[in-house]
């Protein structure tokens, strides 16, 4: 099945949703309307930290045109002392993030919502809501939040017996760290900081919701999981899941951040109270202030090595910002930072730190880029000090099949070295680089690697043979980057028919079985696996039908090129029966042909990536430009190479933004000072070069097509690769991101 000579798998077919997207017909979450629809608006906290003493909505409710007002009291109560988990999300925090309860925890935190006949009236009504705030001292940065006298966000939260902003810890250990460092010939320890960065999807959050008179709810919104939307909305509103139909709109980017809800439960309660469909659309300002971002970090990494480069001990201490409510992705840096390396003695500790900024959301390999920035920078320094090639040193230390990973798993295939080799052998790594091309300009080259767990999990795929003998595939996963195209390739291949005869669509929560989030680099892996099982069952049905028609055993029938054929001469001589012919006879031979398979998939081996980058630094202006970028990754099998390359290229450029320009700026009142795309500087087209994706295909033996997840790993190495390149150019280590012009200039003025 994993045959490189496949007809459709591995080809650059045109995606099923493509024509709608290039003509403006695809409907994203803000594009939907409903008859009788009214508009919702969110009232947001003007304070970074304040106790909410009371909320008086009476004046807003009295304004003509206002149809409903809701506050946290209208949602299900989740007491602080009782955790209710949905996946990795705790509903205590989700409910309080959606509508503030005891406290407003960041500037922009929703405190109430209004539905009115138009947006203007809804906005006017928001201004009439009287919130009695007790303004409290705020704290933004990790360094400040962990001080003993820091303002405490949650009085009930204790750490080491005292009220604290440290809301959680995670520790992974191997061997004996003291002994390990004692054996080392060289030890390098550095402290690193990264700033929070927003996922930066171009589509703001939006939803249209109808709560009908019979209690049935329809939600039209874009997310990375319609089942997540249904489940969280059900939990927060108390409406049973059977009465909530969450319809996935096309999603305009998510990158992890659309794996939670912000608007849907609020819109449902507004719709229930008003008796009207309600639409809410966030502004970009709302998105930047109150959704995402990825956490900022404060990290210390210490690594010990022998003279030959063998790593003997590694210690990481990772503080991540959770935002106003607990829940930063500690397993990213704690588990991934050292995972690609066989290091006998490891201590990796994470701290979840709350502060007065928006609750963090997942962002591509959550937490892993942070840890890799620290670890891969320290490894670069060790290689430099030992006079070793940094890639050779990584090869020497690669984890091996059968090794026990620090996070508990035992490695099956480890294809890390293959990614390093791809870079070592690439012309880019060998190309001469003029380090002083002209006065005031320095150039440098850097490398770094990355690791991501990848994931399996629940997926459902329905394969139906239409009456005219074509194929409709329904999956339960929102398509963020071409998963429909990949599944179409797999189904056309397995069914042995032309690609144009397969249509792949995404079902809503009431039309397809449970399917977990699109995230963690799991969707193509899981849905291809389940689509394969579905196709195998359908082919079994088709062979049964042919056997019945021919009056022979089903085992004597084979399926080839979209046709049933006698399996051999002994089976008898019959003209082939095509899919179209079998479909035409379906009802007289036993009924409709099709099946749904629902699986909790396993076997998602981890992803490895190694990157090489050349940068140019203007030493007077502090501007760092990326000149050339090459990214190698083992993807197992590229079902659709175009979208696999696209994942790698996109992840790299997000990493470039993280390394060089993106950060949240706060004013002294704890308000985001750059909540726009003008001031929050994501890479634009003229900022970056072509990104060469080296797609390595070593089939994952646990997957029918050999697939390995792709989407997360590409964002893990860039921060360190670029920092290492800047070091190569300037001779100075950069331990703080972003390496934006003022910071580069300031660093150049520092001694060392």
């Amino acid at each position: 099945m994993n045959d490189m000579s496949n007809k459709w798998i591995g080809t650059r077919t045109i995606r099923p949703d493509g024509a709608d997207k290039v003509t403006g017909r695809a409907t994203y979450s803000a594009d939907n309307t409903m008859p009788g629809m009214i508009w919702g608006k969110i009232l947001r906290s003007p304070h970074a930290h304040a106790r909410i003493r009371s909320i008086d909505t009476s004046k807003a409710e009295a304004l003509p045109g206002v149809k409903a007002v809701v506050t946290a009291k209208d949602l299900v109560d989740f007491p602080i002392d009782k955790s209710v988990m949905l996946g990795i999300q705790d509903m205590r925090w989700m409910a309080r993030n959606v509508l503030a309860k005891e406290k407003a925890l960041f500037h922009g935190h929703p405190v109430a919502a209004v539905a009115a006949i138009n947006e203007e009236v809804a906005a006017a009504a928001c201004a009439l809501i009287e919130v009695d705030y007790e303004v409290l001292p705020h704290v933004i940065e990790i360094e400040d939040a962990i001080k003993p006298d820091a303002p405490i966000l949650h009085e009930w939260n204790q750490f080491e017996g005292k009220p604290s902003n440290i809301a959680g810890t995670m520790v992974l250990k191997a061997g004996d760290i003291e002994k390990g460092f004692a054996e080392a010939d060289i030890v390098v320890e550095r402290t690193f900081t990264t700033r929070p960065v927003h996922q930066g999807y171009i589509e703001p959050h939006a939803c249209t919701v109808s709560h009908a008179a019979d209690g049935r709810v329809t939600i039209w919104s874009s997310s990375q999981g319609q089942f997540m939307v249904r489940a969280m909305t059900s939990l927060l509103t108390g409406i049973p899941q059977s009465n909530i139909r969450a319809i996935p709109a096309e999603i305009g980017g998510g990158f992890g951040a659309k794996t939670i809800v912000y608007l849907e439960p609020v819109a449902v309660m507004l719709s229930k109270k008003s008796g009207r469909p309600v639409k809410i659309v966030m502004s970009r300002d709302d998105v930047q202030r109150a959704t995402g971002p990825a956490p900022g970090s404060l990290m210390t990494v210490k690594i010990g090595a022998k003279k030959d480069g063998t790593l003997v001990a590694a210690q990481g201490t990772f503080y991540l910002q959770a935002g106003g409510l607990p829940g930063s992705p500690l397993r990213g840096p704690v588990g991934c930072s050292f995972a690609a390396y066989a290091i006998p003695n490891v201590l990796s500790t994470g701290y979840d730190v709350v502060s007065n900024r928006s609750k963090v959301a997942a962002y591509r390999a959550p937490g892993a880029p942070h840890g890799a920035f620290a670890t891969e920078s320290v490894l670069d320094e060790i290689a430099e000090k030992l006079g070793l090639d940094p890639l050779d040193m990584r090869v020497r230390n690669s984890a091996k099949p059968g090794d026990k990973a620090i996070y508990g798993a035992t490695f099956g295939d480890v294809t890390f070295v293959e990614t390093i080799d791809a870079i070592r052998k690439h012309p880019h790594y060998k190309a001469p680089l003029d380090k002083n091309p002209r006065p005031g300009v320095k150039r440098g080259r850097g490398v770094a690697s990355g690791f991501w767990y990848n994931a399996g999990g629940e997926s459902s795929v329905q394969v139906n043979i239409t009456e005219d003998g074509n194929v409709v595939v329904t999956t339960g996963h929102p398509d963020v980057g071409g998963s429909r195209a990949s599944i179409a390739n797999v189904v056309a291949e397995l069914m042995g028919i032309d690609h144009s005869r397969v249509n792949v669509i995404i079902g809503d929560t009431q039309t397809i079985g449970f399917s977990n989030l699109t995230g963690g680099s799991r969707v193509t892996f899981a849905s291809a696996m389940v689509a394969t099982a579905s196709c195998e069952k359908v082919i079994g049905q088709l062979k049964d039908r042919a056997a019945k028609i021919w009056k022979i055993d089903a085992e004597a029938v084979k399926w080839e090129d979209g046709m049933a054929l006698p399996a051999g001469d002994n089976a008898g001589k019959f003209p082939p029966l095509s899919l179209k012919e079998l479909a035409a006879k379906a009802n007289e031979m036993g009924g409709p042909i099709g099946t749904q398979v629902q699986l909790n998939t396993t076997g998602a081996d981890p992803g490895f990536a190694t990157h090489c980058v050349d940068v140019e630094v203007d030493v007077d202006l502090g501007i760092v430009r990326v000149l050339r970028y090459t990214a190698a990754q083992d993807v197992g099998r590229a079902l659709h190479p175009g979208y696999v390359e696209g994942q790698i290229q996109g992840g790299v450029v997000q990493g470039i933004g993280w390394a060089l320009s993106e950060e949240y700026l706060y004013d002294k009142n704890g308000r985001v000072d750059n909540a726009s795309f003008l001031d929050y500087r994501m890479p634009v087209c003229s900022d970056v070069p072509m990104i060469e994706a080296l797609v390595i295909e070593i089939p994952n033996s646990k997957h029918p097509q050999g697939v390995r997840g792709v989407g997360e790993a590409p964002i893990v190495p860039p921060l360190a690769a670029i920092a290492n390149a800047v070091h190569d150019a300037l001779g100075k280590r950069f331990t703080a991101l972003p390496m934006s012009p003022p910071k580069v200039v300031a660093r150049l003025e520092q001694a060392d």
């Binding site: 003509t23 403006g24 994203y28 803000a30 594009d31 171009i202 450029v653 726009s676 994501m682 003229s686």
Partner: protein
């Protein structure tokens, strides 16, 4: 305040609408006119998702007042294909996987068309600066730039 009456042309077809003085062209396109192919990513002219042409000139519809459409000719993504025939840029974007989520795609296509009308033979750098007003967070721009360059080459070839 009463609404103002606007007579305009959208994608070559005569159109009338009523708009508040404060409404943007984007509000009217996406709202009463139902032309939701033009996207709103920021509302401040920074992302280019609402790129349209006004009398052939590239603009962000969020920065144009609806009443400014009076007597003008507006071009949106809905008018880019001729019936069933996609514009060469649209076709090339599909063939070269130059879109992922697709939310920026209408704006990128409108910008790219405007670029190629002015400069049918752009360098890579000219394409990159020509599209610098269109944020894309998915693709890293690589395939977009390649698709625009290839389309330009094809269009020059077929114009010969």
């Amino acid at each position: 305040m009463s609404k103002m009456h606007v007579t305009t042309t959208i994608n070559g077809e005569p159109m009338e609408f009523l708009a508040d003085a404060s409404s943007s062209l984007l509000d009217v396109l996406r709202g009463p006119l139902g032309l939701t192919g033009t996207k709103e990513g920021c509302g401040t002219g920074d992302c280019g998702a609402c790129s349209v042409t006004v009398d052939g000139r590239l603009m962000c519809a969020c920065l144009v007042l609806a009443v400014e459409a009076e007597g003008r000719s507006i071009g949106t993504i809905e008018g880019m294909a001729q019936g069933e025939t996609l514009h060469p840029l649209q076709q090339k974007f599909l063939e070269m996987a130059a879109l992922q989520c697709g939310i920026c795609t209408p704006g990128v296509l409108i910008s790219a068309r405007a670029l190629l009308e002015k400069n049918p033979d752009p360098t890579e750098e000219e394409v990159r600066f020509g599209l610098a007003g269109n944020l894309c967070r998915c693709t890293g721009y690589d395939k977009i730039v390649r698709a625009v360059l290839e389309t330009a080459a094809d269009m020059r070839e077929s114009a010969r």
